[in-house]
């Protein structure tokens, strides 16, 4: 299980190539890549704040529980923080399992968790100023599906 926080842009393709190589007993790999949207120019950049020493520990705790729950062979979570430009990847989640249902559900659960419960604070900067993005009611409901 690997959790990485980074302030540098990353290439999801490189991460998937590494993650899926040499897996003779893994039948299914699912990835999720979250990308910063420009929203037709309404978002010029995202600012993501993390709490080092807390954010990573919390995500590792959840990733570890998800790995056990779905009998995953491997999990990788890479999450940007700092300044992020539209079109750049914010988050990458990969899950490896014997069968597809487990890999899909685990990735889905991890993303629901990251969206509404992971210790990040997200601010959108646009032509009309900045605003904090907090989880929507839908995000909260999505995360509850797995409790």
């Amino acid at each position: 299980m690997t959790v990485r926080l980074t302030t540098e842009p990353f290439d999801p393709g490189v991460l998937l190539a590494e993650f899926s190589a040499g897996r003779a007993e893994t039948g299914a790999v699912v990835t999720f890549t979250g990308i910063a949207r420009a929203s037709d120019g309404q978002v010029e950049r995202l600012e993501l704040e993390a709490y080092p020493g807390f954010t990573d520990t919390e995500i590792e705790r959840i990733a570890s529980a998800t790995k056990a729950r779905f009998s995953l062979h491997a999990v990788l979570i890479v999450h940007r923080h700092g300044e992020i430009a539209p079109g750049e990847a914010i988050v990458f989640v990969a899950t490896a399992a014997a069968h597809r249902r487990a890999a899909f559900q685990a990735a889905d659960q991890l993303m629901d968790y990251l969206k509404s419960r992971a210790p990040f604070w997200k601010k959108e900067h646009g032509p009309d100023g900045a605003r904090w993005i907090e989880p929507t009611d839908q995000d909260m409901a999505d995360a509850k599906r797995w409790d």
Binding site: E49, Y51, L114, K115, F120, W121, K122, W132, E134, D139
Partner: protein, 76 residues
């Protein structure tokens, strides 16, 4: 102070010369300085971490311990 709480406070990080004995005492101190911040800290979805562990309700604070007030979180 994380997320919008830092905007309300006007600061992100501060060291106090004397650590209040409990979390509730710290909240009272911050509210006294800024009622707006006090209200924001009591707002919906705000959590508190003491020494990088989430706590609920009141707890004793060791001298010099790190206390973080966390606005509603959103990653991904």
């Amino acid at each position: 102070m994380f997320g919008r709480l830092a905007d309300v406070a006007g600061w992100r990080e501060r060291s106090l010369a004397e650590t209040p004995a409990t979390l509730f005492a710290l909240r009272a101190l911050l509210s006294e300085e800024s009622p707006a911040l006090g209200a924001a800290l009591a707002g919906k979805g705000v959590q508190v971490a003491v020494a990088k562990a989430i706590v609920r309700g009141d707890v004793a604070l060791a001298a010099g311990v790190e206390v973080a007030f966390l606005a509603p979180m959103s990653g991904g």
